[in-house]
Point group: C2
């Protein structure tokens, strides 16, 4: 360990009480974006905190909750972005909390509160890292920083795409650390290098002015049948999506992706235990389950039509609708897929089936050999004593795309989680040792970023 990293780690440890107090201050302020409860009040606390660490702040209104920006000029103009959010999930059910969700409490080496892990603890982690690295460098950080703390992550970041496009100059940077970093169950730094895109749509069809008696089923068009037939044209029995051109822009895994996939553990038994599934799609098991994340998907999220109560009711439904999502891989584009879906329905004779755009995120992915990825994994190995677990792409989707695509930056994760923090659930917590490790990891990335 160098003198510098020794100094950084000592500073983090010496300031731990302050960090925990700051997490507690943030967590004591409810900021439930789902019902706009205390969110704006919390943004003011975040701004004050940024200022206490010597950051120049700026509040940007988005039409929803404000974004709090914090700027720090370092020795190098190379600038690292830290994206976090100060809103939290609703705390319900309240009676399942050992101590109240907005009364931060330390016990058994952990801090319990809504937001302790997701994501207020990680805001403080970044600030503590900045402070430690700056202190070790005589008061000037080697790189520059832009902190971005948004207030609507838990409701899907509805304003981030436009916010970035409207503030490209303000947000200029050369790489970013995303939220939700940390280790896996085996204590290795776990880092998905990307996320799939998503297109969410509602298909709906109306065949009559109102439901009719099923005694007329020999002549009256049934909306449920119409929808079932339309859905059935979207995918074959082998899960192959039948929309013309759907796979045109879908990249297969690269050679490096394949190497990373080969290193991942066999998820079969873990997945079986978690889901109760015996046979996965296509009879897959073992490594194939990991590789399949490169297959884009078409999911029926739900269907609603007709009578759904007890017993039966002899009706012909006049209206039927289904919610679908498509998970998209690089370089599929939700807007392109939406247009192709419409053309598919028309070509199959389902002009009467409406397709409504519900929401979208674009796929995003850092190259496994990107210098920032390499820096983050080397730093992780120093901190955690084990190689990182690099996942070519997560199965889910992320607002990372809103930053990564227009700013053309690599995005990595590092942080304070350990996959068991009960985020979104009662008794959310962050382990204090995880906070320290995560902050040391982030500090090393800040330390090395200017030299990439």
């Amino acid at each position: 360990m160098t003198t510098i990293t020794h100094s950084i780690d000592s500073h983090i440890q010496a300031n731990l009480e302050r960090s925990l107090a700051e997490i507690s201050t943030l967590c004591a302020q409810p900021s439930v974006s789902a019902r706009s409860e205390g969110v704006r009040e919390c943004s003011a606390i975040v701004e004050t905190l940024f200022q206490q660490y010597g950051l120049r702040t700026q509040i940007v209104e988005t039409g929803g909750q404000p974004v709090v920006l914090g700027f720090l000029e370092g020795a190098s103009p190379r600038r690292l972005m830290c994206y976090n959010h100060y809103d939290v999930q609703p705390p319900e059910p309240l009676d399942k909390w050992t101590t109240p969700p907005f009364t931060p409490t330390i016990r058994d080496g952990a801090l319990y509160a809504r937001g302790a892990r997701d994501d207020k603890g990680e805001i403080v982690c970044r600030l503590a890292a900045i402070d430690a690295v700056r202190d070790a460098h005589g008061g000037t950080l080697p790189c520059s920083i832009v902190m971005v703390a948004e207030g609507e992550e838990e409701i899907g970041s509805p304003h981030m795409k436009d916010f970035v496009l409207q503030n490209l100059a303000l947000l200029r940077c050369d790489g970013a650390i995303w939220e939700e970093g940390g280790t896996d169950e085996s204590g290795r730094h776990r880092m998905p290098l990307g996320a799939r895109g998503i297109l969410a749509v509602e298909l709906s069809v109306e065949t009559m002015a109102r439901d009719a008696h099923s005694g007329g089923a020999h002549i009256l068009p049934n909306a449920a049948w119409r929808l079932v037939r339309a859905l059935n044209t979207l995918k074959d029995g082998d899960e192959r999506i039948l929309i013309d051109g759907f796979y045109e822009r879908a990249w297969p895994p690269s050679d490096l992706d394949r190497q990373l996939l080969a290193l991942q553990p066999d998820p079969t038994e873990m997945l079986r235990a978690e889901t109760g599934v015996k046979t996965f799609l296509g009879g897959m098991s073992g490594p194939a389950l990991n590789k399949a994340v490169f297959n884009p998907t078409c999911t029926i999220e739900g269907i609603t039509t007709g009578y759904q109560g007890a017993g039966f009711k002899t009706v012909i439904p006049a209206r039927a609708s289904a919610k679908l999502d498509f998970r998209l891989v690089m370089e599929q584009d939700p807007e392109d897929i939406f247009a192709k879906l419409r053309r598919h329905l028309d070509a199959q004779g389902f002009e009467d089936v409406k397709a409504e755009w519900l929401g979208a995120m674009w796929p995003t992915k850092a190259a496994p050999d990107d210098p920032l990825v390499v820096l983050a994994t080397r730093a992780a190995e120093q901190v955690y004593g084990k190689p990182s677990s690099l996942i070519p792409t997560a199965g889910g989707s992320s607002p990372i795309y809103a930053f990564a695509r227009p700013l053309k930056i690599p995005v990595i994760t590092a942080g304070i989680g350990n996959m068991q923090n009960r985020q979104h659930a009662p008794d959310e917590f962050v382990r204090i040792t995880d906070f320290v490790s995560g902050t040391r990891h982030v500090a090393r990335i800040m330390e090395g970023f200017a030299g990439l």
Copy 2:
């Protein structure tokens, strides 16, 4: 008109006040089978009424509401059954009634009350007819009578099938007049000669222990997709049901049926106005719409699976279910169809899709040239001055099968309705002139029944 029929008609007219008072007495007693409200109390009033007309009564318990039987020995052992019910639909919404539902009120030539038409008015119609014919024949009815008044018709007659099978000797008869008789909009006696059967089933499938995040859709089995695929195997795009052997026992219309179909008016415009449908199944219009009632059907009544709220939720549903009904024509058998459905699902690889029997009725149909049908239509022409409108089969289903099949009897309809009586709705009524006409019609059938 003969002396006898003149005497019958005079008697009906002379006793009209008594009949209306009896309908009022029955209707003043709530008897809502859906919530067992006053039903048993009403059965006692029915029994007393039967006795006042000189019928020997017997109460038969069914496990649900009691059946009130009334027997009368006539000059001939040939026995005519009159099936009616003394339970009613719930009266809600109460604020839509001009006068309260259980406060029978006469205004504008009609009696308003819940049950006035459906079916308490028709119970009194049968009794008034018996009394008139008996009086015209010196105190002895030419045929014998068994009155059957059940108390669960409005909840689907769940006990009738077993009740008949367990009381075959008691119910022995040579023909029956069903409830819900009367005229159509043009004032012609309207008589469906049968009803289609029905098999109601629930298909359900479970693929996981619980819903999963749709980020795992490349590996996890989706119950909604599974159900959609299973449903899609049941019927092709031309509405042809693909279950092996489904049409084996389905009779096409007979020559007589075809003659009756040819006499029916073109329903296209009426159906368009009622349903808002522009294009009926298969592009049918005109007489084809009437004939199509001989096509058995497979209706999706409803589907429920996954997320159905606002926006979208990225879940893979673990469970999906659909309610279906099959309308069956003579001589299809719901038990046979249910077995064939199970075999179909298994053969198509859907062993995991459960099929649950929800309920069934068998198809039933009187021959257009059955002597009782001929008697009823001739009597109707005398009363209404127009030929009857004979409908080979209704599109819906009826508990008639529970009587017609084991007792091997023809069943016809005659009565007091005019298709506009708001049965099941607020301000249900029976027009007094319709009551008189319907009673004259029923009396003529009783008059002629012994001679068939």
